[in-house]
Symmetry: C2
C-alpha cells in the first residue's frame, strides 16, 4: 500500500513560471552597459560575489539584484561609473519588476488536477510584493489553499508550513526546480520531494542530486506530477 499524501507544495519561480531568464536577460544588458570597463566573465564573477555577500542582508529577489548590480558597477569601474549607467541599471530592474508572467508547460493542468484531490500550497522565496504580483498575474492564485512567501527554505520552514497546511511533512510532497531549496530541505524534513528540472538555474541554487534518497523523484515536467502522486499513494 502507498503513502497518504495530503498536501502538495509548489515552488513558483522556474517551476510554475519563467523567472531566471529575466535575470539573465537583465544581466546581459548590465554586461553590455559595462563592456568598456570589464570583461563579461570577470563581471559575472564580481556580480555573483556581490550577490553572495549581500544575500544575508538583502534576501532573494529583484531589489537585492538591482542593488548588487549597482555595487558591482561601482566596484569594477574603480568608482568611475557614470550616473547615466546607474540610471540604466535602475530602469532595467524596474522593467524586471513588471515583466509579464509566462507559465511553464503543464503548470495549469498540474495545479488544476491536484487542487481537486489535495491541499495545495505555493511556497516561494523573493520579494513579497513581486511574488504576490506574479501570482495574481498567473491566474493560478484561486487554486491554492495557502500561499507562503518565505525568506529562506530550510527544513524547519517546511516542517512548519506542512504542519499548518495538512498533516506534517511526512504526509506532504514538494515539487520544484531547485535541488538546494525545493528538494534537499524537504527530504530532511521527512517529506517527498519531486524535482522538475528547468534549463536555467541560478548559480547560488545549485546542489548535488540526492540520488539515493527513497523519497526523491524526478519528472520531466509538471504534466507528469499528478500521475506520480497517484502512484505514490496507490
Amino acid at each position: 500500500m502507498g503513502q497518504r499524501i495530503t498536501t502538495i507544495g509548489f515552488d513558483a519561480d522556474d517551476t510554475l513560471w519563467h523567472n531566471e531568464r529575466f535575470f539573465q536577460m537583465t544581466q546581459a544588458h548590465f554586461t553590455d552597459l559595462l563592456k568598456n570597463y570589464a570583461e563579461p566573465d570577470h563581471l559575472a564573477d564580481r556580480l555573483l560575489a556581490a550577490e553572495r555577500r549581500n544575500l544575508d542582508h538583502y534576501g532573494y529577489g529583484i531589489k537585492g539584484f538591482m542593488l548588487s548590480m549597482i555595487e558591482t558597477a561601482i566596484e569594477v569601474t574603480d568608482e568611475k561609473v557614470p550616473a547615466p549607467v546607474i540610471a540604466e541599471i535602475l530602469a532595467a530592474g524596474q522593467e524586471m519588476l513588471s515583466h509579464p508572467i509566462e507559465l511553464l508547460p503543464h503548470a495549469i493542468e498540474a495545479v488544476e488536477a491536484l487542487t481537486a484531490t489535495h491541499r495545495i500550497v505555493l511556497i516561494t522565496k523573493g520579494d513579497l510584493l513581486d511574488q504576490e504580483r506574479k501570482l495574481a498575474l498567473s491566474g493560478l492564485g484561486d487554486h491554492f489553499d495557502g500561499v507562503e512567501i518565505v525568506s529562506e527554505k530550510t527544513p524547519q520552514v517546511y516542517t512548519d508550513i506542512f504542519a499548518r497546511h495538512g498533516h506534517g511533512a511526512d504526509a506532504a510532497l514538494m515539487a520544484g526546480n531547485s535541488i538546494r531549496s525545493d528538494i534537499l530541505p524537504v527530504l530532511e524534513a521527512g517529506g517527498w520531494a519531486v524535482h522538475v528540472p528547468h534549463d536555467l538555474t541560478w548559480e547560488l541554487e545549485r546542489a548535488d542530486h540526492p540520488v539515493n534518497a527513497p523519497r526523491f523523484r524526478e519528472v520531466p515536467d509538471l504534466g507528469a506530477l499528478p500521475d506520480l502522486v497517484a502512484r505514490l499513494e496507490d
Copy 2:
C-alpha cells in the same frame, strides 16, 4: 457586558521598536552627501516623490528606500552624481539593514501580559528578511502565536489574518502607530483599533484620525494596552 476579544494584533515598526528614526538619520546623511547639488527641502520633496512613485513596484522597506535614494541622487544632479556618492548611499542602506533593535517603552510588558490571556499576532509590512531579523533580535518572537509580514495593510488583509488567527475581525483588536495602516483598515474590517502614537511618522503613513468611530481608542503608550483590553471586555 463587554465584547469578547480573542486576538490582539501588534504592529511592529514604531509600535514595538524604533524604525522611522533610522530612516530619518539615513536621510539626513543623504542630504549631507548631496548638499552641493540640492537644498534640503527640495531634496526631501524629490525623495518623497520617488518613494511614492516606486511604492507599487518596490513595496515598503529599506531596499526600496535605497533604490529611491539612488534614483533621486541621479535626478537632482542631472545625471552627474559621482559614483563614490552612490557607494555611500549603498553603505548607509546596508548599515540600516543591520541597525540594532531598540524596543519602545512598555513593549515587553504589554506583549507578555497579553500573550497570557489572548492570541497575539505580529502584523507588519516591509522587507521579509529585515522584519524577521528585527523580530529575532527583539527577543519577542516566542511570545507571538503568529507572525504575518504583508505587502500592504488593507481591510481584506486584516479580515483574512483575524479569521486565520482567532474568530474574525469582530473579535480582534489591532494596536499600532499608523492611522493609515494600523487603524483605518481594521475599523473598516469591523475590528477594534488602538492608536499608540509615535513622535515620528513617515509622510506616506499620515491620515486623519477616525475620531467618531466607536471601536477606535488611543493610548499614550503600550503600557496602557492590557488594562484597556480588559476594560473593553469587562
